[in-house]
């Protein structure tokens, strides 16, 4: 079966790259599942959302919290570019929770900081 070549990059480093069966990203309008053979799309990521990748080698799903960014799909190549990107396994849950508390304390509901903190918690597999 064909696989997707996935690159998840932030300006400072390549966060993850490899072959995948499926990628799920969230745009402003909703979730988008990408499988091999998808039509070329250039989409805007929802700031503070989670990108999920199912690796081709059958390993566990990889989750990553992303900030402002976009993704492009062309010829079974998926590039996710985000100004902030962090793998779920790298998230320090206590830090993320603290950020969330601060964002909530700051008052404005549904702020970017709050969404980002929640995304990091979700990516890490913790209760958000």
């Amino acid at each position: 079966m064909a696989t997707l070549k996935v690159g998840l990059v932030s300006p400072e480093r390549e966060v993850w790259s490899g072959e995948a069966k499926m990628v799920v990203a969230q745009t402003i309008e909703g979730q988008l599942g990408i499988m091999p053979g998808h039509a070329p799309v250039l989409g805007v990521l929802l700031d503070g959302s989670v990108v999920k990748i199912e690796p081709a080698d059958g390993g566990e799903w990889i989750t990553a919290a992303v900030g402002s960014g976009f993704f492009s799909i062309a010829d079974d190549e998926v590039s996710v570019l985000a100004e902030q990107a962090e793998l779920g396994s790298e998230v320090v849950v206590s830090d993320a929770r603290q950020d969330l508390d601060e964002a909530l304390k700051a008052g404005d509901a549904d702020s970017t900081a709050e969404r980002r903190a929640r995304a990091r918690l979700r990516a890490a597999g913790a209760e958000a």
């Binding site: 300006p11 070329p40 250039l42 805007v44 402002s68 976009f70 492009s72 570019l81 100004e83």
Partner: protein
């Protein structure tokens, strides 16, 4: 004998200076490697964003976005000057500032009104000392820039670009930074950052055809996001290049300082040996003279 003591003291002080410069040199050497790795790590993002922007622009002829428009009525021009926070790096900052000053002069001759935006403590001190007007300054990250700082700078510049002269905005943005070419050569570069020049290159015969993308949610939304990100990524690239150059310049300056110190120690050591030898010779001749005089007087 006083001279001997002085020379010893001087050797001591020069060798402690040499130790410091040698340490600085080694720190700079290791940081160049890190800075180069940072440049390499930022490349995939920069390439991808350029590709996406190219795809977007080439499929939408007559694309219109405020960040792309020329603003001939705005005479104020931002000059972003990338200097270092710390000294000890030879002519690095002097070169950047000289280039920036000649750019400012050239812009003035074109009837524009250049305004410096300064990055790095050294540039800031230079402009502050001369009481020049500065729109903004950023310090504290010149040797290890993070994307967050590039983002901050990019946001401010983009915001100023969208304002008119009367509101304190600018009509053009130029950047003066140092490109890292190799360990031995770094070159000061002057680039126009905004308005962006989107050149629609003729597709070469065998160049890969860019796929015709669908846009989610829309091309305008994608452009709204891509353009600022692209600008920030450009600034980040310039900051990283400048940081690598700064370390390379510092390494070179510190290496020549260490070499000079070692040479000086050699000179002083020779002088000291000469003085010591002269003192011994004098002492011997005094003893011999004294003994002769005694022998002469004893013989009578």
């Amino acid at each position: 004998m006083a001279q001997l003591r002085q020379l010893r003291q001087r050797i001591r002080s020069v060798s402690s200076t040499a130790k410091i410069t040698r340490a600085q040199e080694m720190i700079a050497t290791s940081r160049i490697v890190k800075a180069q790795q940072a440049v390499a790590a930022s490349k995939p993002y920069a390439d991808q964003i350029t590709q996406a922007l190219t795809a977007l622009v080439s499929h939408h002829v007559g694309i219109d976005h405020p960040l792309l428009n020329e603003q001939p009525e705005d005479k104020r021009t931002a000059v972003l000057i990338v200097t270092s926070d710390r000294g000890f790096c030879g002519g690095y900052n002097a070169n950047v500032i000289r280039e920036a000053e000649s750019l400012i002069k050239a812009l003035r001759e074109q009837g524009r009104e250049p305004i410096p935006y300064v990055i790095g403590n050294k540039g800031l001190t230079w402009y502050r000392f001369r009481d020049r007007e500065m729109a903004e300054s950023w310090t504290g990250f010149s040797d290890r820039p993070t994307f967050a700082s590039a983002e901050q700078i990019g946001r401010r510049l983009a915001a100023d670009f969208l304002k008119t002269d009367a509101e304190g905005g600018v009509g053009e943005i130029h950047v003066v930074y140092t490109e890292f070419i190799s360990m031995l050569s770094q070159e000061v570069q002057v680039r126009r950052l905004m308005p962006l020049e989107v050149t629609e290159r003729e597709a070469e015969a065998n160049a890969a055809v860019l796929p015709s993308y669908d846009f989610e949610p829309s091309a305008e939304a994608a452009l709204d996001l891509l353009l600022p990100n692209y600008i920030e990524s450009r600034i980040f690239h310039m900051l990283l290049q400048s940081a690598a150059s700064e370390h390379a310049a510092r390494r070179r300056a510190m290496k020549s300082a260490t070499d000079n110190a070692n040479e000086l120690i050699g000179v002083y050591t020779r002088q000291m040996n000469q003085v010591r030898q002269a003192a011994i010779t004098q002492e011997i001749s005094e003893i011999v003279g004294g003994a002769d005089a005694l022998a002469d007087s004893g013989g009578e």
